[in-house]
Symmetry: C2
Subunit: 714 residues, 2 copies
Amino acid sequence: MSMPLIIRQTIALFLFSFVAPGVKAENGYDLWMRYNKVTDNNLLLHYKKQLTSLAVPGTSATLQAAKRELENGLYGLLNTRIPIKQSISANTSFIAGTSVASPVISKEELGKLGSDGFIIKNYTGILTITANNDIGVLYGVFHFLKLLQTGKKIDSLNIISIPKLQLRLLNHWDNLNNTVERGYAGGSILNWHKLPGYIDKRYIDYARANASIGINGAVLNNVNSNAAVLTPAYLQKVKALANVFRVYGLKVYLSARFSAPIEIGGLTTADPLDATVQQWWKQKATEIYSIIPDFGGFLVKANSEGQPGPQDYQRTHADGANMLAEAVAPYNGIVIWRAFVYAAENPVDRHKQAYDDFVPLDGKFRPNVLVQVKNGAIDFMPREPFHPIFGAMPNTALMMEFQITQEYTGQSTSLVYLAPLYKEVLNSDTYSKGKGSTVARIIDGSTDNHTLTGMAGVSNIGSDINWCGHPFAQANWYAFGRLCWDYDLSSENIAEEWIRMTLTNNMNAVQKVRDMMLASREVLVTYMNPLGLHHIMGTGHHYGPAPWVKELKRPEWNPVYYHKADSTGIGFNRTVSGSNAIAQYAAAAQTQWKDMNTCDEKLLLWFHHVPWNHTMKNGQTLWNELCHQYYDGADKVKQMQQTWNSLQQSIDAEQLNVVAQLLKIQHEEAVWWRNACLLYFQTFSKQPIPATLEQPDKTLEYYKRLQFPFAPGN
Amino acid sequence: MSMPLIIRQTIALFLFSFVAPGVKAENGYDLWMRYNKVTDNNLLLHYKKQLTSLAVPGTSATLQAAKRELENGLYGLLNTRIPIKQSISANTSFIAGTSVASPVISKEELGKLGSDGFIIKNYTGILTITANNDIGVLYGVFHFLKLLQTGKKIDSLNIISIPKLQLRLLNHWDNLNNTVERGYAGGSILNWHKLPGYIDKRYIDYARANASIGINGAVLNNVNSNAAVLTPAYLQKVKALANVFRVYGLKVYLSARFSAPIEIGGLTTADPLDATVQQWWKQKATEIYSIIPDFGGFLVKANSEGQPGPQDYQRTHADGANMLAEAVAPYNGIVIWRAFVYAAENPVDRHKQAYDDFVPLDGKFRPNVLVQVKNGAIDFMPREPFHPIFGAMPNTALMMEFQITQEYTGQSTSLVYLAPLYKEVLNSDTYSKGKGSTVARIIDGSTDNHTLTGMAGVSNIGSDINWCGHPFAQANWYAFGRLCWDYDLSSENIAEEWIRMTLTNNMNAVQKVRDMMLASREVLVTYMNPLGLHHIMGTGHHYGPAPWVKELKRPEWNPVYYHKADSTGIGFNRTVSGSNAIAQYAAAAQTQWKDMNTCDEKLLLWFHHVPWNHTMKNGQTLWNELCHQYYDGADKVKQMQQTWNSLQQSIDAEQLNVVAQLLKIQHEEAVWWRNACLLYFQTFSKQPIPATLEQPDKTLEYYKRLQFPFAPGN
């Protein structure tokens, strides 16, 4: 290659990537809290007319934070510095404060709000944000700023907003050495080494971002936990974080290692029925609460993927959870016990294991225990049916666990908006108490009458300047929070909010980006795991396709275990003639899947081993349909690239360039998934890829040889 | 602790850390290239008067980068958008271009400039930046912007600037898994996984920052290397980086693992005299240069701390280096071979080992080999005498290796300005060719007539938003680059430049910060390693004091090996009655150290085992002086805190807060060093800490028990 060509390429790169002088490039750090100036002049006048004299009565740290957020937000949005007073006067046109400070709201209205809800309402010309507690006021302020960020009129507001779930938590899989398991956005934002002395500004902005979407708790460390986090030195670090987060309504939780009494307590056992073990945890809880009086509680992964747990002592998960629950109960702490179990000795369909372990324990957990269940029975696949535990443990408070970090959904090189995935699960009907017993109505406690409710998302946050690696991954953090607050919000509305706050208010661009986001998860499914295929990714790092892997020690570690391709067909028979995992669902739920000929084709190969020449609903054979879906998925990424590249007038140049580069990578990865999977499955189907489709330009052997020893997040 | 107290603390934190609305907080990302508006109105007018019509003739990528930098810089500094033309016209008042484009400079002047130098000169009203090559123009543009950033007049400039060293390199100890060995600023800025498809804007800003101080090469991966970086997939990633860096005059180099022919080549040996091995490296070099035609070359750490090397095959370092040098020679590549050797089987004073291994090889290295020597014989201690190899290998091109990352100098919680350390070494006289044979004049080739010259700094750059972890650590990157260009610059001037570009132009504040920086390294030495003590830090992570460690497998891993404290005294006798390492220095150099009674007391315990009651030059006993120095060092950090906290009017609030927090931590660490070391040494001296000094409030056992399993950078 000659030098001039290199230089030409370099120039092209720079012309593309460099921003005109004087234009502030957006690096993504500000998330959806950019507060850029309102560009519509009529709206600007409308806002300025209302916001003439503002008051935020109260001196608490949380109300001061609300005041600062308003000051900064309005300064950005209106490009005018509006001083905010502490006291209400005759000409006050805007009040944000608790009900004590804003007596204009009726007791009846306030009664509905609970601890976190808020009202935004115009009363005789005064715009009022009110709540029962300071945190509700802060939530209301963020909501109000969002109205301005998204161009809404504010002269006749009448908004009552109350969260549908009580615990709205992020789970950080952050290790104490600052790596993040399944993290694709750099290292941990938590600099444990410099804590407690050094408070990174990022901690404050993290808390602000969470408060802006109603998230009210964070589990700070990986569920594959290290007991060191429970030692006195680390508890001082946790305390420093709690002090920052408390202002924004975020409680801190810790992942507790079940064997901590041995590792840091000097005991010889961690048996939950052993009195010294019970005493150790009680003392530890007392110690923690003396340092952090509002500590949230423990999250525990036990007897799963090598983690210690009560089964090591022939005790049940309930025994383990209840012991910890008893320790934190005096302090109103809770225990969140994960149902993701995955033990070496269990020979049945992995799909069935959590249900088999947990359903018999229904009703045996203490009232301050929540069992946290992943959205599906396998592991955060691009598509799974809802987890059969939902609806099957009516006497246990069940908490949802979604994955925000994109372990299996394209990591940080793919634009995949996950709200449709979350909504698909939440809207799934368990039929546990008849039609309408949706997963959402299981976890919100309404179906089985629970008051302790919650949803957890495995964080996608890291030390990258833009927090999440991929600019659009921010939308998944945002959407998760919004759906915790109100699972009835539509994916479309959440996307639109996020786009308008984060990228652009140009409505043509908003629409294009929104449509791209809404389709993106299905696009991913189509080029990665069409028709219910699952768990066919690379070993360990889970990057890229590897359906051929079959030599790992445990059967369920191998992709071949899940796709079961052979000369007759492909797919996992989980019906009565197979593993019968389908029997874990209510009969009415089974109906949609149990017959190969009527099964929802999106999950066909999840539940059935299907002959290659099976006729699909559209008349194609299974093999040809598989080919067409893989090709269609990859083609659609190409279309996403084209859409994105058409938005140069509306999107910040730096963000435009970042996403353009990532979409190009995503297309290459989509073609890789398509070619590698089809070439491999073809060795069983013995059928050609339809001639109308562009044939793979690489061999199966080429794809099998690819190695990624340093892929992130492992 | 009651809740109200917590809340009060939290409020205090927030009031301190939160920036007023509308004021852009500085997060440190912009380094010394902030280009904030000139606040002195007279200066502003002065600049605007000169800069009326600008031209940057030329279309190369480097000149385009120079043009963009000028446009952006002037837009910030002058708050006016000044368009820059490509062609010179009658009213042009400013030209930046090569000599071809700026014929006003004489050939004689140009002849002096060489490939990288530049001239900035006013000719009949036209301000001209000229060089022989595009990169010289870019260097000149950065220098010119610096004049404006630091408030200099520009109406009668006559600057000729020519670098004193040819290779001005950063060595990154970045691993392919994105961790950084001895990195204290997050992970690697290089996202190997997303390369080559994703070009992070950070790569461009990294290259800009380096170009702004004249750094012209970067070794991208750790000297503890992984051969994978030489595989085709990684070379494509390296190529993508080279394409970005080339524009800014940065060449890429790689650390080569000596055993790569085995690990990725399928050979059974890496013997440098084996023909198949030689052939493998030649083919690898051909492959690399076909992909990156201007690849810089290889850096090698061999037969040191477990790394493979030629001695594994009973060959010499010269055999190893020359084999690689032959492979890259056809492409004008170079090999940089590290002299930091540290083999298990060598029983002599570790101080002597590199000299013993390398001096006999003098004259045996090929002309395209540089031997890279650490500044001292042990390992980047807060203070060491210069390395005895300097001056002892006149027939070998020697390159300096400094450490910018603060492995032993307070990591990222300490404000330590390293220019005085670098200058102390560079100004040290080796006496190899008589008085004046300073280390600087060894490495610049003037003493022994070498043309291949260079200096390397082990990078302190990471993925933290502010690049270096501690805001003041940026000054060490800056100072290293400036000293590579001109080692005669004073620490004081470099500090002042950096402060004015990075923190403030308020001269009262500049002076206070500069004085604090200039004293800071001596302060660190005083509370950490006074009087020539060294290598008494914690094992592995090197964080904090651990002089008591004595049970590590190899003797020279243990702090006790270095301080040799016993009932009679303390210090390492390296004179003729001891290890006689002093004999590796020229006789004239030895004079300053060889007699305990006249020895430079800053290195007293480096060269002598000194009785506890030895009378120091100030009349104190050694023990009392040791106590006073430790206390004085810690007290001075307290004074740094006070100085810093007095600067609220002049420094950005966010930066002010960050440094204030870190200085507080540094003071705690200084007290820890002081107490732990004195309590330990007291077990030998059996003497009290003078009663006038505040007595330690913790026991030696307390300090010994401290553990930091997750300290960074290990």
